[in-house]
């Protein structure tokens, strides 16, 4: 019989398909794991609804559970339960080490995000540590990233969007 803790350990080994330095557990997208009589039910929330990696992640979770000798069921929950504040401290550190600025904390008033706010957010350059960085483009190579530029070391870098 597989234990719930063992399932979490196995899920910790699944890299995010687009930012492989962090795992699905680091990202905080796994909402719950329920183990009953050899059946493992995983509830999972996508980061962005248009994320093309959704199916890949779902299949990877199912494979991991089968490797443990259990029968998987993965439910995708499209509700408001995930935000970038769910990324773990370890996940944030891994992002930084890989050259991504981790997301800024979400403003307390929901829906209060504005361009002025976004531009005024301070992001440390993940390469040289300078605070002199600026927003280049709200949008980046995947839905979850923006582009920034470091005015100290002249290195462009990506920032995880706050949602």
């Amino acid at each position: 019989m597989v234990a719930e803790a063992r399932v979490w350990e196995a899920l910790q080994e699944i890299p995010d398909p687009e930012i492989p330095v962090v795992s699905l557990v680091d990202l905080g997208v796994i909402r719950s794991v329920d183990v009953q009589n050899g059946h493992v039910h995983i509830e999972f929330t996508p980061t962005f609804l248009g994320c093309p990696a959704l199916e890949v992640m779902k299949r990877a979770m199912e494979e991991k559970v089968r490797e443990l000798g259990a029968e998987p069921k993965v439910s995708v929950i499209n509700d408001d339960s995930w935000g970038t504040d769910k990324i773990t401290a370890a996940g944030r550190e891994k992002l930084r080490a890989a050259g991504f600025a981790p997301p800024a904390p979400r403003p307390l008033a929901a829906g209060a995000s504005s361009l002025v706010q976004l531009k005024s957010q301070v992001h440390k350059c993940p390469y040289c540590g300078s605070m002199k960085t600026k927003l280049e483009n709200i949008f980046g190579p995947t839905p979850c990233r923006s582009l920034r530029y470091c005015e100290s070391c002249h290195q462009p870098f990506e920032q995880f969007k706050t949602i």
Partner: protein, 210 residues
């Protein structure tokens, strides 16, 4: 759950996502190429999530999205327009995002928790589309060519919302209420787009798996 309203939302996002993606590779600057592609991807993702909600866990969202005839879509005429001209494209993006924010805010209070939850998730992503639209609106608002495009598209923008939500749109856009170009009617520009959008699916052999 107001299924017609949700279908209208999903069809708007699918068709506008398609239209936005028409700038991929040819936008006037690289930043906008990336922005329009990313916005398009989000809008189509929102459409998928709403279609999935409408068909339920065992249903086929792709069939709902792509197996209807063009005239059976419930999108608003605003999103159908083929606008490969920057002033009109930005005017539509801005008008649509203002209207969509009003609609999504209302849906966040829906009595069905599945609808309200999804609306809240969509809203988090749309915040970035609004920032993009506002940035361009601030930049172009004093330009006569942009103003003319906004006025030309204004009756279409009113048609995105049900009558009870139009008052807020009038206030926020600052133009007088006029006769709306209503949802349920279609422009001539939808059919050619539909043909292209559904071509792969229609030409696939029976039993093809995606």
């Amino acid at each position: 759950m107001n299924e017609q309203a949700l279908l209208g939302l999903a069809d708007d996002e699918l068709v506008l996502g398609w239209r936005d993606s028409e700038w991929t590779g040819i936008a006037p600057m690289l930043e906008e190429d990336v922005a329009f592609s990313s916005i398009a991807q989000n809008e189509i993702g929102h459409a998928r999530a709403v279609y999935e909600l409408l068909v339920g866990p065992e249903g086929d969202a792709d069939a709902l999205a792509f197996d209807r005839k063009a005239e059976e879509y419930h999108c608003s005429p605003l999103v159908e327009l083929h606008l490969l001209e920057w002033a009109h494209t930005i005017a539509r993006r801005w008008l649509y995002e203002v209207a969509d924010e009003i609609r999504i805010t209302a849906l966040k209070d829906d009595s069905d928790p599945a609808v309200a939850g999804l609306a809240a998730k969509i809203d988090r992503e749309e915040a970035y589309h609004r920032m993009h639209a506002e940035m361009w609106h601030d930049r172009l608002r004093g330009e006569p060519r942009f103003q003319a495009a906004v006025e030309e598209l204004w009756p279409y923008a009113l048609g995105v919302l049900p009558t009870e939500l139009r008052g807020e749109l009038v206030t926020r856009v600052g133009l007088p209420e006029v006769e709306a170009i209503e949802r349920g009617t279609h422009t001539d520009e939808l059919a050619p787009m539909w043909k292209e959008m559904t071509e792969v699916r229609r030409s696939a052999p029976a039993g093809a798996r995606w």
